[in-house]
Amino acid sequence: MALLNRMDWYDIARTTNWTPKYVKESELYPDEMCGSMGIPMEKWEVYDEPYKQTYPEYVKVQREKDAGAYSVKAALERSRIFENADPGWLSVMKAHYGAIARGEYGAASAEARMMRFSKAPGMRNMATLGCMDEIRHSQMQLYFPHEYVSKDRQFDWAHKAYDTNEWAMIASRHFFDDMMLTRDAISVSIMLTFAFETGFTNMQFLGLAADAAEAGDFTFSSLISSIQTDESRHAQIGGPVLQILIDNGKKAEAQRQIDISFWRAWKLFSVLTGPIMDYYTPLEHRKQSFKEFMEEWIVAQFERSINDLGLDKPWYWDQFLHDLNIQHHGMHLGVWFWRPTVWWNPAAGVTPAERDWLEQKYPGWNDTWGQCWDVIIDNLVEGNLAKTYPETLPVVCNMCNLPINFTPGKGWAVKDYPLEYKGRLYHFGSEPDRWCFEQEPERYAGHLSLVDRFLAGQIQPPNLAGALAYMGLAPGEIGDDAHGYSWIEIYKQMRMKKAS
């Protein structure tokens, strides 16, 4: 029997906004789950998804994608990537899996909310496929690292991380819970799919896939490329929603949600992806700097998306562009210095050759972050390892939950952005972080940062051992320098040469 072409039946098949008889529309679509901002049902029915796919097509394509990624994994299982890869590259994988894998299940829940509670039939269809995408992503990103668990306990954090109070996970959960798990369907479509996925997952998945291929890890490269093909489809859910909101006088609210989510995503990626690209990936395998990737894949693309819709760039855009030169260097230095508190082994990435690269990509690096690293390097050369560890906590931002840091050394520009709200003093790492809080204080006010928890006596004993126990970091899991400080030898040699 001949099959009709998809476009001969697609529109009518997904026109599923029936008139309810037994319940009111407000009961079928409660506003706290739907978030339709008072825009009537018929206005949502004009939603026209830019990427149309039917369920049979989806299953066929996804099966091929899965077969491809799993085949590459099977074929390369004897390539001994774990044994042969640079330790910095293993850290890339550990950080990625821990931060992302379980979050994908959260994203499936968010997609499911759009699937059930959106008033736009086409959006429900796309979100149905998106929900299945996210389940696939979580399953793959738990399965792939599993083969390494018997070799290295830190890979267990692919599954374990989300259940802990490790500081980076508190930050990650705070962001993803805000964007995905505590927002209505329309807000999810804007904050998760448009603001976050359109730009930032490109960064993590396309950028990292390129670095993985360069590093010879074709299994990881094919895995995350496979995931990105899904992301680039379901990330388009938010665009038509924004068009409907703008057409119905809700531009200001749409803009506000974009501005919150984009900033929050940026901060998270400054700690997750920035160090990976500019410090962990071996120098000879780096395709572009983090800043260059951001400018190509996020700035240009996001600006285009916003302009196309008639929206404005976020109010902090100039600051964001400026911070592309800065923020992730401090995040990296903080992760390395507080390295026992992470589940991967951060690569310092500051050999003379790497510093030259950093100076070239980020002029002034040696006079700023380089000055802090000079002291660390001196201590390591002199065998004073104790001085390369912290004895107190960094103060973390009450929005992004990441250490409050900025330019050190000759360009010292570190600053707190405080806010007193209902008698409690909150600290923020930037004006946009504080602004996010002020948009909806009651949403965030009750949350305790790691420092707040420490001061509240929740971390016992109140020292590093107590903190590691609180964060769930067991022996064999706590982070240390990825290369076992072997990179310091070149500095020792330089010093000896200078002395002779």
Partner: protein
């Protein structure tokens, strides 16, 4: 005497740090406590300089002998620890 949490923003360092002090500590003692977590870890010592405390946003350091209890700090308030040439002593103490 009571423990009191402050936030240290140390000149030349890259990150804010939790700084437990005592309400009876003088500002000079506060700078010593703050320096312990920054100088020799990520900030080089500056010979010929002393350290002063100032409130964020202020250009004037607090008197060196002032006690924490007298400074009107809020718990966890961010203070700046800044280098001052020793030669300036007597002009702003």
């Amino acid at each position: 005497m009571a423990q009191f949490p402050l936030t240290s923003n140390f000149e030349g360092d890259f990150v804010l740090q939790l700084l437990p002090v005592d309400t009876e500590n003088s500002m000079d003692e506060v700078t010593e406590l703050a320096a312990y977590h920054s100088v020799g870890r990520r900030v080089k010592a500056r010979p010929g300089h002393i350290l002063r405390v100032r409130k964020q946003g202020s250009t004037e350091p607090l008197p060196r002998t002032m006690k924490v209890a007298e400074a009107g700090f809020k718990p966890t308030e961010c203070i700046e620890i800044i280098w001052e040439p020793a030669s300036q002593q007597g002009t702003s103490a």
